[in-house]
Symmetry: C2
Subunit: 140 residues, 2 copies
DNA sequence: CTTGCTCCTCTAGTCACTAGAGGAAGTAGG
DNA sequence: CCTACTTCCTCTAGTGACTAGAGGAGCAAG
């Protein structure tokens, strides 16, 4: 069907902005596509699938390097599945760690906020930030 | 007591690395301290308190600009407290938003991970990333 | 005096883009 | 065919909050 679409159409189809697509090409996350006579990039279905894969992985919070590995794995249908799985597991552990940390922070910030004193002289926010000993938990 | 400590000691006392302290001076988050004859920075107690305030706020996830405002407020004991409180409230809302997003991501990544098929040809990780329609939730 | 540590300045690199300049190519209407 | 408008091209530089490294000077102990 399609011999290729422009970067604008690829952008719409993938939800990735054109400058970002060029950036992905620059860092070789995406192969350099062929060009038209007028030097415009032409993307085919395979490229579009790759872009959607990247976007989805980015939305899930994967960083570029893990995505690069996942793309390599996805391109090799006979390769082992454990590697992809361990990348996902590592990411999951990372997310859990972030959630735990944010939850602890939330408790502390919530505790110190909601201060309705008149002046900063006895404002709990200022006070709490100035004195680490008042922390519920040590974040280190 | 102390007429001033070196950057190394200030670093130990505050838990902020020396290059970061210099960086804070550069972006004017911290005033430029006086120097010794040999051109070394000398920090006094007030500076150390400021550094601890900054570190604590950074640990709680506050960005530099909010911290700058909080520092200005903390330096004015007769000023209103509502501003400090609203900065903290805004931060709290931000944390809540991040937690919610991460929790949604966690569910999706957890669902697609734990794949024990033999090859990537039918690996759930690869498959799930390639096909956005399999998402539980749309992250947009 | 020499060794080794801390400190100084300055530049550049990190990540994943984003913004902007300055120009060429393609498209639609008259 | 000419003009206007949009999309595209390349290239550079900026973001946040540092971090790393080069190359050199000061300082304390043995």
């Amino acid at each position: 069907m399609s011999q290729g679409v422009t970067i604008g159409e690829a952008s719409k189809a993938s939800g990735i902005k054109a400058p970002t697509i060029r950036y992905y090409e620059q860092i070789q996350l995406l192969p350099s596509p062929p060009r038209t006579e007028g030097n415009r990039r032409l993307y085919d279905d395979r490229d579009l699938r790759r872009l959607r894969f990247i976007r989805h992985a980015r939305e899930l919070g994967f960083e570029i390097e893990p995505i690069r590995e996942l793309l390599a794995l996805a391109g090799d249908p006979n390769g082992p599945c454990e590697t992809a799985d361990s990348i996902a597991q590592a990411h999951l552990a990372d997310i859990d760690h972030k959630i735990a940390r944010l939850t602890a922070l939330r408790a502390e910030v919530a505790r110190m906020a909601n201060c309705s004193n008149g002046s900063t002289a006895d404002c709990r926010v200022i006070e709490a930030l100035g004195d680490h000993r008042r922390c519920l938990s040590d974040t280190h």
